[in-house]
């Protein structure tokens, strides 16, 4: 993508956010993603940014998609996570399974899809307890992001299944991405479609592994926005007769984060470094930056209204949902050592 198209797309996404996401950001946190936002975002082609146009996708390149994630995460990380869940996770799996009908539904924003990714996370010990027979599924799938989705993709005994709707959701405490929620999904004798005979777990895991740069793009947006807010606040907020920005530790720390943000941007968009390397760097930066941004806001930072605390919650959640991955580390370690290492 050349500089001009990059700038144009960026302006386009920013305008979309200013008009459609920013005003809803607090409502998204409190009440969840409104359906008409998915429709509007679908109209922009965001919901299926990278999917094949032949199956209803927008066919954008990865850089454009990363830019969409970064910019939307600045307004609402929940919304960005929604896009990522539809794009990087659901559409890629649906594409691989030839379910272009559902991709089209996602594209329009009429339907949402979720994938049971967290139970495959190494830190999860709750695979749920489902049984499938005669094309019907019964049991509970635990810790599902966006549990109220119209479609739910999950793996069972290595096959991949698609269920429509659900039979109840137990809402779980959700530290972050409250706009999507987190829940245990109950299924009772509910018809399921087997969309892959085998390799289900591997497909989901690979999809997550291939989303490292997307995760980093979200972290970049969260870092940038929260630091921008802190910088703005430090100009207007006075203490002991001087604006906060006049104090070295405030000014230098926030400026330092801006420099790190710029550097991360270069890495996300232009570097050839491995995604596994960029991802933890990015989530770590987001966690540190959002904590400082909240602290600079003092008591105001602790209030939802000011819009900074969500970045603190979401960055922590992002780093848990998408890492740290010991299998990534083991791969890296194998490369470095040229033999097995880190096995105990």
């Amino acid at each position: 993508m050349d500089q001009d198209s990059y700038r144009m797309l960026r302006e386009n996404v920013d305008e979309f956010c200013t008009r459609n996401v920013e005003p809803l950001a607090l409502r998204i946190e409190r009440e969840g993603m409104p359906r008409d936002l998915s429709a509007k975002s679908g109209a922009q082609g965001f919901n299926t940014a990278t999917a094949d146009p032949a199956s209803g996708g927008s066919g954008l390149d990865r850089e454009s998609y990363l830019l969409i994630l970064e910019r939307t995460a600045r307004s609402s990380p929940s919304f960005a996570m929604y896009l990522m869940l539809q794009n990087s996770i659901a559409c890629r799996i649906l594409g691989a399974s030839g379910k272009s009908d559902i991709i089209r539904e996602i594209a329009s924003g009429n339907k949402t899809t979720t994938v049971d990714i967290l139970s495959l996370n190494e830190s999860s010990s709750s695979p749920g307890n489902i049984t499938i027979s005669d094309g019907k599924v019964t049991g509970t799938i635990r810790t599902v992001i966006l549990p109220s989705s119209d479609y739910l993709i999950f793996q069972h005994q290595d096959a991949l299944y698609l269920a429509k709707g659900n039979d109840g959701i137990e809402i779980l405490p959700a530290l972050g991405f409250r706009g999507l929620g987190l829940g245990n999904v109950s299924l009772k004798e509910r018809p399921v479609e087997k969309i892959a005979e085998s390799g289900g777990a591997a497909l989901i895991q690979e999809t997550i592994r291939n989303s490292g740069r997307e995760v980093a793009a979200m972290a970049l947006g969260m870092t940038g926005r929260s630091i921008d807010m802190a910088i703005d606040y430090s100009r207007v907020r006075k203490t002991f007769g001087r604006p906060l920005k006049d104090y070295e530790p405030v000014a230098f720390q926030l400026s330092g984060f801006k420099a790190q943000e710029e550097h991360l941007r270069t890495m996300v968009f232009f570097s050839t470094a491995r995604d596994e390397y960029i991802k933890p760097l990015a989530t770590d930066l987001a966690r540190r930056a959002t904590k400082v941004a909240l602290q600079v806001h003092g008591g105001y930072g602790y209030l939802e209204d000011f819009g900074v605390e969500k970045f603190y919650r979401d960055s922590m959640t992002l780093s848990i949902y998408f890492g740290p991955s010991k299998s990534d580390m083991r791969v890296l370690s194998r490369e470095v050592y040229g033999e097995e290492s880190g096995v105990i």
Partner: protein
């Protein structure tokens, strides 16, 4: 070396008192009582409900009072109760201990009239009080506050606003710091009053949507020509700043207690999740390293807090150690809650642990941000160094 020590003691029989880290039997028993109360009353369901609905748990306040879990006759017991209650849930725990918040100001500096009229009902569980110092755009710069009290006859007329006031929309009265004169040294112009929420012109706007401790009540106060009788002045005019700073040197120790409680609660939950996950998970060295770091820092925070408490409760307060306790316990709560999520991952973040992570952060902000505590510590230390 042990044997020699024995020899010495046997030989001289001096039995000198030396550094001692144990609580009395009475205190240990009280800790069990407080823990038992919290475990019984602060069920996970209730804690989640109050967190979700941002409601002040008045029933719990009453029960805690009735069962004497908050025993203000012994400050060690107050500290222990705060710890054990916050260990179970910070929102409910702070709510149960907060009706008395600010009491020491009247106790130490108020007239007998004020003590009788205002403190007795609080101590009998019939009334709630609060402390109103911070202002919109104010924060740690207490001396810069702008709310004014103007003398008119036998009354003061208060105008201005207060921000982030705990129990702001539910307390019956507040110890409020306001400006009574424009002195060159700004903090010499401040005075403390008892202001009832029922006084005309008093208005409280509850602040909804806090990151954590959502069971506690927080409000912005508006004061429009609020008429306060002169007998509600606490101590002398112009001494308010000093009174409040004295109070903070007490209350910071209790904030440190909140920190220890939250850290311990997060730690307990992490260990229990890890044990459920099984041996091959928690015996990984990286997990063990994290557990050791968490436990060590928690132990350290506990000891600094007890040291600060021991000094204060024995009438030789050490503001430097008090600020260290507040800062370090707050940091520890945030650190332990964060590590707890890291080592428990998806299991932890979808459990009550996430609430501890949100609750912990306020401790680095209220009653003196960590930055302010550090400036206090450093100034004192550099001054003392010869």
């Amino acid at each position: 070396m042990c044997r020699r020590r024995a020899g010495l003691l046997d030989g001289t029989g001096k039995g000198v008192r030396e550094v001692d880290f144990d609580f009395t039997e009475d205190q240990v028993k009280f800790r069990e009582k407080a823990r038992e109360f919290a475990e019984r009353e602060f069920t996970p369901e209730l804690a989640r409900m109050f967190d979700r609905e941002e409601k002040y748990p008045d029933e719990i306040r009453k029960k805690a009072h009735a069962e004497k879990v908050i025993d203000y006759s012994d400050p060690w017991k107050v500290l222990i109760a705060i710890e054990e209650l916050c260990r179970q849930d910070a929102g409910l725990g702070i709510s149960a201990t907060v009706p008395y918040f600010g009491e020491e100001v009247i106790m130490l500096f108020g007239s007998d009239h004020l003590k009788e009229k205002y403190l007795n009902p609080v101590n009998e569980g019939r009334s709630m009080m609060g402390l109103a110092v911070t202002e919109p755009g104010g924060g740690s710069d207490v001396a810069g506050l702008k709310t004014t009290a103007r003398k008119e006859g036998k009354n003061y007329i208060i105008n201005g606003a207060k921000m982030f006031i705990t129990s702001g929309s539910i307390a019956d009265f507040f110890v409020m710091l306001v400006r009574t004169s424009e002195e060159e040294k700004r903090h010499h112009g401040l005075s403390a009053f008892v202001v009832e929420s029922g006084f005309p012109g008093f208005k409280a706007n509850k602040l909804k949507g806090k990151l954590g401790v959502r069971a506690t009540d927080t409000a912005e106060l508006e004061l429009n020509n609020v008429v306060v009788p002169e007998e509600n002045l606490i101590g002398e005019e112009g001494k308010g700043f000093y009174y409040i700073m004295t109070f903070f040197n007490i209350s910071r120790i209790f904030v440190a207690g909140q920190g220890i409680g939250i850290a311990q609660g997060a730690f307990d939950r992490a260990i229990s999740i890890l044990k459920r996950k099984g041996r091959e998970y928690y015996e990984k060295e990286d997990i063990q390293f994290a557990i050791a770091d968490m436990a060590t820092q928690l132990q350290a925070a506990r000891l600094i807090t007890y040291k600060a408490a021991s000094y204060l409760f024995n009438f030789k307060p050490d503001p430097t150690v008090t600020s260290m306790a507040k800062k370090y316990a707050a940091e520890t709560a945030v650190f332990v809650a964060e590590k707890a999520l890291e080592i428990t991952g998806v299991d932890g973040i979808s459990s009550d642990l996430e609430r501890f992570y949100r609750d912990a952060k306020i401790l680095e902000i209220w009653e003196g941000t960590s930055e302010v505590e550090k400036l206090i510590i450093s100034r004192n230390i550099v001054k003392e160094a010869q």
